[in-house]
Each structure stands twice: as C-alpha cells, then as structure tokens.
Amino acid sequence: MMSLKKKKSPLEAMAFSDGQIPYEAGRKKASSPPRKAPARDFLLDVHTEPLPARFVAPVLEQLRTGAAKWLEGKAPHGEISVSGTLRHLIVTVKSVSPKGHDKSEKFKGPKEQAWKLPDGKFTPAAEGFARKYGLCAADLKPEDGILYAEVHSKGEASSALLQAMILDLLKSLQFPKSMTWEPSGFKFGRPIRALTCLLGDKVVAVELAGVKSGRAVYGHPVLAKAPTVLKDPSKHSAVLRQGLVIIDPAERREYLLKALELTTKKTGGRTEDDAELIDETVFMVEHPVPILSKLREEHMKLPAALLKLVMKKQLKFFPVMARDGSLLPYFVGVRDGLSCGNALVREGYQRVLEARFNDAAFFLGRDAASTLESKLPLLERVMYQKALGSISQKAARVESLVSWMGSHLRHTAPIDERAASSAARLVYADLVTDVVREFPELQGQMGGVYARNDGLDERVALAIEQFYFPVAAKTPIPATPEAAVVSLAGKLDSLSGCFAAGLIPTGSSDPYALRRQALGVVRILLEKQLPLDLEQALEEAVKLQPVVVPGPGKLSAQLADFVWGRAQSLFEEMGYASDEVRSIREGALKDLPNAFRRLAAVRAVRREPAFESLAASFKRAANILRQAKSENSEPPDRALLQDEADFDLYDALVGAEGAANDRIVRGDFEGGLKSLVAVKPFLDLFFEKVMVMVEDESLKRQRLALLGKLARAFKRVADLSEIQS
C-alpha cells in the first residue's frame, strides 16, 4: 500500500500549485538546430460529474483497447495504460513519437488501354483522375494493365493525430446508459466537466460538448483546493494524490482492504468478504476512509439476512462478522475523502441505519401480524406469467407435483409427505409481505421467518426458507428431503411452464433463469441422492400446465434434453470427459444418482489396460448392430447357435452378466463393469472366428441377438461405443 503521508518537498509542491505559470509562453527556441524531436508522453484525463460505480471499469477497458487500436499503424508509441475513478477517466500513452508513420496509399484507376491513347498520350479523364491525388497523369503507375495513383505522405504531427483520437475515443465509448446535458446533444455517461489533454508540455487542443481541453487538473471536489495547472503528464497522478484522489483502481482496492482490516481490528471480527460491495466501493470513492460504527443491540434481534441486506444493498455499509460468521454489533461505512469530522459522519451513519432498521422492523411487525396461511388469497392477484396464470395457480401445481413425487419416492427415499405438502402450499406466501416487497432478494428466507413465527413445524419452515436454493452455482442446496422435494417441484413447474408457454432460453437470453433452475434440479437430485425419474416427473409437470401443448411427449423430451445439458456441463466441470458423459446418457435422467455412479465406474474402468481395446471391439459390435438395423431385443437361443466361438461368447456373457448383476444391484457399477470386461477375449475370438452377417438367416438372427444381449448388458452401466479411443 502506498502511503499517502509521503509528502513532496514543499518547493516541489509549490512548483505547480500556482495556477498562473504560463508554460506555453517563451519556450520556443528559434535557433535550435534541426534535430530529431524526442518522443513525449500523452495524457488524457476526462473529468466528469460522478459516474455510476458500475460504469467505470468497463469504460476504462474500452479506453485501453480503443486507444491501442486507434494508434496501431498510425504513430509509434510506448505503453498504453488506463486508470480512473468515478470522476476521472484517464489514458496515458508513453513515448509518443512526434510524427505519425509515413503513409503510402495506392488508388486503383482506369484500365491502361482505355485511358491511354495509341500515341502514348493520356486522355483528359486520366489527367482528371491523377489530379484528384495531386499527380500528373504521367505519374500514374501501370500494373497488370491498370493504372494506379500512388500517394506518399509524411506522417502527420502526433498532436493532430491525438486530437482526432481523443474525439473518436470519447464519441465511441459505450455506457450502460448515457445522457445529454448541454446544447450540442453529445451523449456520455455523465456530464464532462474538464478535459486535460497534454502531449509532453503542450496542450492537445480539442473541444467536446462545450468543453475546451486544457492543462487544469481537478482533485477531490470537496477537499481539493483550486485546480492545479499541470506542466506535463509526469506529475499527473501525484497532483491528484495531493488532491485526495487515488487514481489507480488496484491501488485504491488495496488501500481499502487494508484500511478495512485495520478499522475492524479492535472488534475481534472482520468485514464480510463481499466481492461485489468491494468492487462497487472502489469505484464509489476516490479516497476511501472506513469508519467503524455501532449497531444498536435491539436491532440485532432482526433476522441476520435482513440486517445484512439493509446494510449492504441499501447503504453500502460493510457488516462486521465474528470468526464463526455471526454478525457483530458493528458495521463499517466507507467515506470518500478525509477523516475530518469523522465523529459527525459516524453519528450520521448510525442514525440513517437505525432509521432503515426501524422501517424494516415496522414491516416485519406488520407482516408477522397475520399468518402466512391468511395471506394465501392475496396470491390470486399476483401474476406469475400471463399464459401460466397467478402465483396462486402456480402454488397449486407445485403442491400436486410434490404429492406426485412423494408417492413416487415413497419406497426409495421416504419423506414426510405432510410437511412437504404444507410447505408447498405456503411457499409463495411471503411474496405479498412488506419485507419481500421491499427486499425481493429475501424471498424464501422471510417465508421461513414468518413460518416459525406462525409456530409451524420446523420441517415446514425450513422447506419454505430453502425453496429457492441453490441460488447460485456453488451455494448450498435444500438441506432436508422435504425441502429438496418442494424446491424441485417449484423448479420443474417453472421449467415446464415456461417451455410450454414458448419461453425457451436462447443464447444468452434466459430471463426466467431456467438454466440456473435446471442446474438446481440436477444438483438437488445428485447431492440428495434422490432416485427420481426425471423424465416422468417432467411429463407430469407438463400435464399440470394451464397451456394446451400440441405435442406433450415432444415437449417433455425437449425439457429432458435441456436438463441433461446442465447435467452434462456439471459433470464435465467435475473433470469427466465428454465421451464418458455421453456414454451414460441413456436412462440417466431416470435415476441421476445412479447415472453418476455409472459415470464414475466408466472413468475408473477406463484406466484398466484392457479397456481401450474392449471399447474398440464394442464399437465394432455396435456398428454391426446398427448396420443390420437390428432392434431385436429377443434373447439368443443357445441351441440355434453353431460354432464354438458362438457358444464360448454366449457362456462367457451369461456368466459375466450374472456376476455383473450381483454387483450392479448393490450399486457397485465399477465391479459390474469389470465383470463384463471379462467377456473381452471371447468377443475378440468371436469376431475372429465367425461372421455375423451370414447367409443363413436364422444363424444371423441368433448372432445379432447375441451381440444385442451383449450391448444391453453393458448399457446397464454405459454405452461403450461412445468412448473415443
């Protein structure tokens, strides 16, 4: 961290504190010999009214790439760097050569024979063409029967190039939202107040949106004294530092983090590591000064999620947490500028937070005054989606899906069906509470708070609280089986409803967050080990939708593919190869936890030396089956087989299948697959000794049936024909 205490010597500081030094005047050395002018540094500092924090970093990146692209091939230059705050967008280019590159351009003209007369003279048209480029017709160069005008020009002065660059760059910047403020109608993120543009010690003169460029630099708007007149780019960041502006975002972040740590030291806790809030703060202040403030004990009784949200989202304050993650009665507000009058600022922070908490407590009290149950009729008036009806209708669908799932899972993963169904009924009730209306992010969490307040069973309260889990890719899933099932039902209903209504995500557009919900479904089934038949469940969910679907079977298949897409990328993220994932696709959605075990088995067995060639033989078998279009699933009849290789393979397969089955039913897919691998030598021998596609129709049929049996046996674990060698 750079210390701000490091002061320039007073003399040095004074050298450019007086705004009147006429740097331009009297500096021309008329008699100096014509020698090569040195390269000079370039500075552009766009001083604006406060830009929204979220605008700054992306715009700085645009400036960096834009300047590099603009200068490429135009003028030799050194390193390009950008920095900035909410009030400064800064580009510097080191060592810009005084002249741009010399240019040679070639313009295509007429055909030589058309514009050149037989006597060798040029037509007037050719003369005219040449004149356009400042040439005589005789200067035109023939090339493959065509005349070209070649124009050579000396490189333009860099100052002229940079003038053009500044205007092009600033006009091309894309802000999330831009505005106009002065008569020219120029659009920018916020009004431009000043343009500091210097090439070495010379101002690069531009005018934009009524602002003329100059050499004045503006520090912090409240704390800095009058603007400083800058001699050349080298002192720019030092001048702003004296004006209490740390221009480098990385340095500001480091300074902030260190200061937060120091400020919270005596509390024994530390501020929450909230990347979003830290990023925002870095671009909300030019010189961060954290102020440790206190929470009133009485407010510590409010739900922690609510406290944190009010602090972070509403007031940009940092909550202070103990080591175990619980809230301490402190918070940190980050002030912009100096620590002068900190006691007053702290008092203000505390008062404003208390006011917000009082408000939240008021809402909470109103919400808790009536039960969740009594709020249900209000859901009839809340629209979920035009084609899909009200939230109340959605809740009814979720409830019936929960009961369907309950009966389907009864024998494999028993859940408290009554608790799940009560939770499903109430799960959307918090949407009409004041707190959730004020803080939509707290949906679910507040439902849990109110459910406990209503004295409901903890299993019900938890299922309501965790209904929207997982809220992000790596955050937890619902903890209990009841919560998992209710959460699944909500997601399956959203997925099938949106698909039925034609709201299918495309490319980057996924307004109903269906990808996240599908990933949630996959994670819940996997992590909770629920053997739910997802294909059936999706069919059931589609049936419940109030939309008439032309081909419900097709839609369920489309949905299944969509969910499988999420499973696939999750598996690949876990390190499984895409061919391994493809090999378990068949039947995977009928039992995802099993599918995952099959996947692990493929991965484990793949490491065995014999596997590679087995996969090759297996592929051969699959090819034969495909070419013969044999979808025959009748078992082979040993008596109708003919050769020894037939019988050996048959017997080996029956034996291996038996052994594999014993293991597979115990969930040992790796063992099962290994048992099956034992048929490999017999399969190889079979391919070596006999032909499958023989004349004898009956024999051919039996051999295809034998290969079919083999394929089915393996497919209980994986379709090895998908594995790439």
Partner: protein
C-alpha cells in the same frame, strides 16, 4: 442550529441570489414537486427556466399514523429547476448545502446513481441521489424525456428532502421533534395531520367517490384539451394522479387495474403536453 423554516429561507435566498424566480407552491394535492407547473411546463420547451420553490408533497401510501419517526404521508420538498444547465452545477449545489449549515468538508457527501422515472408523466431523467453521511438528502436529475419525447435543451431538477436535511442538522431521531420555528415543533404542526390522514387514506376514504371523481376529472381533462387550454387541463392530470395514489393506498386497486390507471393518467398527461408544446412552440423559437 437552523430551524426548519430557516432552512427554507436560506435555500430561497441562496437560489434567489443565483437568479431563480422563487415561485409559490401550486395549490393542488400532488405527490412531488415535479408536478408544479414551473417544472412540468418549465422543462417542456426551449424557453429558459430558473425557478425555486417549496412544494408540499402528499404520498398517501407512505403515511404511518404518526408512529414512524422517518416516514410521512405529507412532507415538503424544496425544488430547483434550471434550464439551460449551468456548468459546475454540482459545485453550486454543494455551496447551497454550505449556505444551510452543512459544510461538505465535515461530512461524507456521495453521489449515488439513481435515475428517475415517472410512468404517469411518460418522463424520465438521469442522475443521482445525494447522500449525506449515508442519508439521502437530495434527488438530482437531468431530465431527458417528457411525454416520451426527448428534451433538448435539458433541464436539471434538484429536489431537497427538507425534513431529512433538518433532522441531520438538528440531530433529531424523529421528524416530529424537529424545531420548526416560531417555538413550535414539526410534530405540533403535523402529527395530528399524519394520524388523521393515515386513517383516511388507509381506512375511511370513500373509494366509490374517489373512483367516480377519477373518471369525472379524467373526462373533464379530455374535454379541456379539446378546447385547447392546456393549463386547466393539466390541473385535471394533477387531480387524477392524486386520486389514483389515494385509491391505491386504500387498497382499492388490483394489480391489473393499476396498469390501466397509470396508462389513463399518462395518456391525459401526454395530450396536455403536446397541446402545450403546440401552443408555446413559436415562443420557444423566439427564446432560442
């Protein structure tokens, strides 16, 4: 320490010194100072505008029976509208804070992105809420559109939340404890209003009468626009907008009805605006 009325007086003289006409509140119930014709019509054409005024603002849904120390169903805004926008307007605003006793050096002054939109006026703007030590004390907006039309020249609107500023200056935790002036507190003057109007807005307002009035004033507004007098027609916009707010606070408007009401107010507002621009356009050219 400045009393509530002294804060108003200081702001009025500050902006008067800056060349504003200090006009009076408009005599109809409204939700915000933007509804004062000085701003609504002031922003519409190219005619320069420099106005400052106090505007009583009614937000029926925000009433808390006088129980919540920070929320009021009726309060005061101090509004400044400037067109064209003077350069250095943010510095000028900071100076105005100093004039009422808030030295920005002693406080944390932050400009937080907050764009403004009024669906009922088809209006939008870009700007900030200004935070003083975390408390939002001002809404600062560069108007961009009115009646869904781009505005050029652009106006800037500065709306001071007077009660919040006063609470900060006087270090009061409850708005009712503010020293108003003349030996009275804000509570002396407003507490019973808050209590009774909360009851009215949430419990006792006659919704049949209110919705009938909404329909009647809407029709009257339509009739007046046909007669090409935008100013009386605009009063109808202000009236139905407030009737809508009251009906909503009373819980008499369902979600689907709400959108319809908003559209009805906006349609009338748009007609009035168009009429005003047509009628005043020649003047606008003269001025520009």
């Amino acid at each position: 320490m400045k009393s509530f009325q002294e804060i108003i007086l200081e702001l009025q003289s500050f902006w008067s010194r800056e060349g504003c006409a200090v006009v009076q509140p408009y005599d109809l119930e409204k939700g915000a100072g933007t509804f004062n014709p000085a701003t609504f019509f002031g922003a519409l054409t190219a005619v320069p505008a420099r106005f400052a005024y106090v505007e009583p603002s009614r937000r029926p849904a925000d009433g808390r029976y006088g129980d919540n120390p920070n929320r009021l169903g009726k309060y005061y805004q101090f509004q400044v509208i400037l067109k064209p926008v003077p350069s250095g307007i943010t510095d000028l605003y900071q100076k105005s804070l100093k004039a009422i006793g808030l030295d920005p050096k002693q406080h944390d002054l932050r400009w937080i992105e907050d764009d403004w939109e009024s669906p009922t006026l088809g209006a939008s703007g870009v700007g900030w809420e200004v935070w003083l030590d975390g408390m939002e004390i001002t809404q600062f907006t560069y108007f961009q559109q009115m009646g869904s039309m781009p505005l050029l020249p652009v106006s800037v609107e500065i709306t001071y939340g007077l009660e919040r500023i006063a609470m900060h200056l006087q270090k009061k935790d409850s708005v009712y404890d503010l020293e108003y002036g003349g030996g009275l507190t804000y509570g002396d003057l407003h507490k019973s209003q808050e209590r009774e109007f909360s009851r009215y807005h949430f419990e006792t307002a006659d919704t049949a009468l209110l919705s009938r009035h909404f329909n009647e004033w809407e029709a009257e507004g339509g009739r007046l626009t046909a007669l090409a007098d935008p100013l009386p027609a605009y009063d109808c916009v202000v009236r139905i907008s407030h009737l809508f707010n009251t009906l909503e606070a009373r819980g008499a408007i369902s979600v689907t009805e709400r959108a319809q009401y908003v559209t009805r107010v906006r349609n009338l507002a748009r007609k009035v605006m168009q009429l005003y621009i047509e009628k005043n356009a020649p003047k606008a050219v003269e001025a520009a």
